[in-house]
């Protein structure tokens, strides 16, 4: 009998996830029912939000059950179809989970055209991370020509798109990343105006990179980076709160006991700052068509590039996820399945 490999949440992590929090199991291949499609997964998307799903805490989405398959978006190819909308070999996108196969209702799948863009981009630059970048800039960041935009986790899935979109809007863009290779990528490949290595002296580098202060800060990380950028806001600055991955491993990623204090908010009044959080699922998907059309135009014009970090094989997923939370990925983290 054909089998399906799955990675389950073995237990809820205490702080940073470790290998023992996951379990690889073999289960029978699912059988598609009428109107369903069996999908062979080709790329799994690993994203920081999945850390939140591992905790049993009140949040904007239900947690993964202990013993349940870890959640993720994935792209794959139809292996067997019981719906006329799909045939074997078609590329599809959906919420397929950390596993090799899944059987899903055809109407829950989004068809992908591999001639338009590589299918893996549906998980990155043309997918949720790209849409996240676009929505956050459209709705909150709103960078203007000549403004200074600082992007944390600049070489990551969201950060690369944020910075390139801000450049397209005419802003000066400074990317914060960890280490020389990522910083070189940020300036040389992504075309940002400057890079700041958060492993070095943040204040000195930010002084040099942002001599007139910061108009927009794209917050992916929290912690020391946030503390260094916050005092540099100019009047009417905007802080786009996309995530604070530096504290996702603290209790529920929240202001619970143990979470570090934040900045004193006095400057929010004096400088008329706007600090706003958002979740792409709230308002993003109804605007996906507009986003995609713009992005395909940028890609065709050579204004938008991307980098993927591809782990090989399902069994590599836990270590890749753990590494991503520690900043060891270099680009959008994917897992490639054979």
């Amino acid at each position: 009998m054909a089998m399906n490999s799955q990675i389950l949440l073995a237990r809820r992590p205490q702080g940073a996830p470790v290998a023992e929090d996951f379990r690889l199991v073999e289960t029978p291949l699912p059988e598609p029912g009428p109107g369903e499609v069996l999908v062979r997964h080709r790329f799994l998307s690993l994203d920081p939000y999945q850390r939140g799903r591992m905790d049993d805490a009140k949040s904007y989405a239900k947690p993964v059950a202990v013993g349940g398959v870890m959640e993720c978006q994935a792209v794959g190819q139809v292996a067997a179809s019981r719906d006329p909308a799909f045939k074997e070999g078609d590329w599809v996108l959906g919420g397929f989970g950390w596993q090799g196969f899944s059987a899903r209702p055809a109407k829950a799948l989004i068809a992908l055209d591999p001639k338009e863009a590589p299918p893996s981009t549906a998980l990155g630059v043309l997918g949720m991370p790209g849409l996240t970048a676009w929505v956050g800039l459209e709705d909150i960041g709103q960078p203007k020509v000549g403004e200074t935009v600082v992007v944390s986790a600049a070489s990551g899935a969201v950060g690369q798109v944020v910075g390139q979109l801000a450049k397209i809007r005419g802003a000066r863009v400074v990317g914060i990343a960890g280490g020389g290779a990522k910083c070189a990528f940020v300036t040389d490949t992504l075309g940002f105006d400057a890079a700041v290595d958060h492993r070095g002296d943040l204040d000195a580098q930010l002084d040099a990179a942002c001599p007139e202060g910061v108009d927009v800060y794209w917050e992916n990380v929290g912690g020391a980076v946030q503390a260094a950028v916050f005092p540099r806001f100019r009047d009417f600055g905007r802080m786009v709160m996309c995530g604070m991955v530096a504290q996702y491993n603290t209790a529920s990623g929240a202001a619970a006991a143990g979470a570090p204090a934040g900045p004193n908010l006095g400057p929010v009044v004096r400088k008329r700052l706007r600090i706003q959080g958002f979740i792409v699922n709230d308002t993003g998907w109804p605007r996906y068509g507009q986003f995609r059309a713009e992005m395909l135009g940028h890609i065709a014009a050579g204004r938008m590039v991307w980098r993927e970090d591809v782990a090989q094989g399902l069994e590599a997923a836990p270590a890749a996820f753990i590494g991503m939370l520690a900043g060891r990925n270099f680009g959008k983290q994917l897992v490639s399945l054979p």
Copy 2:
């Protein structure tokens, strides 16, 4: 020779202002030139923002010079006019300072009609504090029917208007004030749904007053009140940052050394919060006509009341100002001049 009493900034305060930071002097009565008007001040407005003007720190407005007259808005009556637009006895509004008289260009004065509303309201419910409340709710707070709005410094000049406007919009309004008399005023006179005494157990009272959490928090104070309200935000909550009077006496009211830490911002992402500061002078005055028309309607309909705390005589101004920063005023703080 007729003389003018003035209160000067004698020196920059270190922390909370003390009486010695001010100096009362007698100077010759100013002489209006052509096109100017001599105004006899009747009411001076004392407002928390004036504390910021006493520091020599970068802010949205220039500081008062040491030896200069303390700034404030005031209403008064024309004592002598060298401009055809005004005649003796006319009521006017302007930025007249902590003094008994001033000579100003006629075009810098705003005429008041005492039959429409008591002139002192031009410094409160119909003036800058009222406009502040209106702008902050229009642009940031945007309370909806059935939402819970928490207002700090609820019996103060801005807070009273915020809560009443939020009630008019159909929100449930909880006012935070200091002591039983102010709390009774908040519920019995202003008509808020509940009052919380910040001198008591904040958490227990907020639990009781906001069982479903907070949708809009109007921030006038900072400190312990902010820390108690912040964790209670519901998803999509808005924090209208109007002021943080609890720390105006720390170095430049800023996140400078010594300012207390703020809340960890993790919940801003998870709950999609918006924290935004504003200054009424940025965008408020071009909309003054709309604000005033609405407010006169509310007043005529009995939906808008106000309370003033009136100190008697210019020499009482420093103590009244010091007391206001400590929360000892009860209502909009004015100084009445004979």
